[in-house]
């Protein structure tokens, strides 16, 4: 299946987001630093979605009735794409924090839990490299992928439950009559669409790669078994 339409839509919406975001009017409080609103919340949204898809795939693999390799591949693909978005969430957040808060980083609840999200995703990706046998790898990584999901609600509500430097939940501000200007809301929503499309395109390609890697692994395994058999035959002869 060709993904050109999805890729094209992702690229066009991403360019539009950047054009709209970079031309937003400066605000009184934050001057032009508020322009990061077009990308940072959207990147964070995708980081959450990627983490959630990894956990959902892991859950569906762990339930015997729904167990299929497709769920493990989906979890693996989403985790790797999630690493990129979670790292970008931390970098763009730091670049916004420096001029507005005065620091690139502080160990408050929201930021620490976001860093933990990245560590958990990297751990999941690393864990998949430990075991070569496909079924065992799927089982072990599904348990890890599902256990890790507890960080998502914790991080989402961190800004409500604890005092942090980070503002409250961004999506609440999208509602009509909120203090956020309509142009900012539009730019933020466009960013959500663009980043979601980019994530979907990357996910499809990463999934395909997972299938290709598994096939390659099977070929290599069969070749190795054939080689050992040939050695054994030589010894017997």
């Amino acid at each position: 299946m060709k993904t050109r339409i999805l890729g094209g839509a992702a690229l066009v919406s991403l360019i539009a987001t950047m054009a709209v975001g970079l031309t937003l009017p400066p605000t009184e409080e934050q001057e032009d630093f508020a322009r990061l609103i077009a990308i940072h919340p959207a990147i964070a949204w995708v980081a959450y979605v990627a983490f959630g898809v990894m956990a959902l795939g892991s859950l569906l693999y762990l339930i015997p009735a729904t167990r299929a390799r497709v769920w493990d591949r989906l979890a693996a693909a989403s985790a790797e794409v999630g690493v990129v978005f979670t790292a970008l969430m931390l970098v763009t957040g730091s670049l916004w924090g420096r001029p507005v808060w005065g620091v690139y980083w502080t160990w408050d609840a929201r930021l620490t839990l976001s860093a933990l999200m990245l560590a958990l995703l990297l751990g999941y990706v690393a864990l998949r490299r430990v075991t070569v046998e496909v079924d065992r790898r799927a089982m072990v990584s599904s348990i890890a992928g599902l256990a890790a999901v507890v960080v998502i609600p914790l991080n989402h509500f961190a800004v409500t439950w604890w005092r942090t430097l980070h503002q409250g939940r961004s999506l609440v501000r999208v509602s009509p009559g909120s203090e956020l200007d309509a142009r900012y809301i539009q730019a933020m929503l466009l960013g959500f669409v663009a980043m979601t499309l980019v994530y979907a395109w990357l996910l499809v390609h990463r999934y395909r790669l997972e299938v290709l890697e598994e096939e390659q692994g099977d070929v290599e395994l069969e070749a190795a078994i054939a080689e050992r058999r040939a050695e054994a035959t030589e010894v017997l002869v």
């Binding site: 990061l36 970008l88 970098v91 763009t92 990357l202 790669l209 290709l212 890697e213």
Partner: protein, 33 residues
Amino acid sequence: MSYVLAGYGVTAAALALYTGYLLRRERIYRRPK
């Protein structure tokens, strides 16, 4: 403005690099042996 440009620049660069990396890996596996 430099922080804003850095944020947009890093985002564009990271997404472009990861896309290139994925497509390259896919091409290597699809290469006829």
